[in-house]
Amino acid sequence: MEVLKIEKLHKYFGKLHVLRGIDLSVNRGEVVSVIGPSGSGKSTLLRCVDHLETAERGSIEIAGSFLAKADAEGKSVYPSAAEIQQIATSIGMVFQNFNLFPHRSVLENLIEAPVYVKKLSKDEATEKALALLARVGLSDKKDSYPGQLSGGQQQRVAIARALAMEPELMLFDEPTSALDPELIGEVLRVIKDLAKEHITMLIVTHEMNFAAEISDRVIFMDEGQIIAEGDPHGILQNPDNPRIQTFLHKIIDRE
């Protein structure tokens, strides 16, 4: 069953045509990685799914609800703010820069939305939050403030905060790009654990080995289009597409 279904999605920034007709489906329990050169539209795609950007054309369907529905001419039509907020609660977003709430403790970061958006009782939300903190290995940090944590710890809290809403779909926007190299591993390990639990995930990443290891499917994007998609072995180890070969060579050269 599809948790995410994107059809003919177009996004412009002024005259810049950033997404040029994206078709993409993600099934329940599937882990899909999006790779590609910077400026290829990967992050914009993710941000459209989470309604941080508004698409001009095409449709986005999340767990059976239309975030954007294409009208007869293909133009994206969005529902009311309240409906969008409702859909947003079924998506968890993990940002490159964590974006934790600095004035709230780790535990408060986790229960904020469950209590005030989902209207869970504080006790119930706290109980779930503590379980999530244990899962990302940060039980001892529940009373710390984000500013007191390392980047890796902050990102693990951010993952737990997104999971606290029990989303149907988790989005990761380059979750390790802002981290010092020695902190990347701990965050990737947490995401790997989620993959084992069959949490549906769409991940934009530059970590090729990581993508190869955890993905059921890899999408290669360039210039606002999906150039290739398939199993990680085919896309990453034996690409027949010259553009993917060039991209992978550049990354290998860098490393």
Partner: protein
């Protein structure tokens, strides 16, 4: 000594101008162009003319303009003027505070499905408060001193009292005492804000 009136003007001004300032700041950042325009006119007028002139206007001017239909007592006239004058300054301070909160906080709130007002109340404004405390402290000190302007519309506050005593006794003791009262009041305000800033020091915005 008239300190009562001074404190009254001080307290009433803060209590009413802060909420008005918050609302106007949010309005000034809203997507409604008319709202933004009207609030800009308001802050321009009240920040762009002397408070003394505004006091004259509400006390004398309104009465003349309306042929006596609106004729305010000195104290209400002073309170009204001070509230709207200070709210105009607070609007700009709050607006700057709100705008200094990074885009990531808005995006994280939105991603969690928070409605706009919930986000403002729980995420944006509490962080803005920390940023605006130092300029708010400045305004509060200014307010203490500005209350002396009330003397020109016949309100007997600290300064006017001192003036009366001075011309009666023909020495400056009263003036020195008045200065000491102002110093004491501003000192209390400084301490209060220092304490508030400490309370918000438990976290840092990077």
């Amino acid at each position: 000594m008239g300190a009562g009136v001074t404190l009254q003007v001080f307290a009433v001004t803060l209590v009413f101008s802060i909420p008005i300032g918050i609302l106007c700041a949010i309005g000034k950042l809203s997507r409604f162009r008319v709202v933004r325009f009207l609030i800009s006119i308001y802050t321009w007028v009240f920040r762009g003319t002397p408070l003394l002139l505004q006091l004259f206007f509400t006390y004398y001017g309104l009465a003349i303009l309306t042929n006596g239909a609106i004729s305010l007592e000195p104290l209400p006239a002073a309170l009204l003027t001070f509230v709207f004058n200070y709210a105009a300054y607070f609007t700009e301070i709050f607006r700057a505070g709100i705008q200094s909160i990074g885009r990531g906080q808005y995006e994280a709130s939105k991603a969690l499905g928070m409605p706009h007002w919930l986000m403002m109340r729980r995420i944006i404004l509490p962080q803005a408060v920390k940023i605006i405390l130092p300029p708010m402290g400045n305004e509060a000190i200014n307010l203490i001193k500005d209350t002396a302007l009330c003397s020109v519309i016949t309100i007997t506050e600290i300064l006017r009292n001192a003036q009366k005593v001075m011309s009666r006794d023909f020495n400056i003791t009263a003036l020195v005492i008045a200065a000491c009262i102002y110093l004491a009041l501003t000192f209390i305000v400084i301490l209060l804000f220092r304490r508030l800033e400490k309370r918000f020091a438990y976290y840092s915005i990077k």
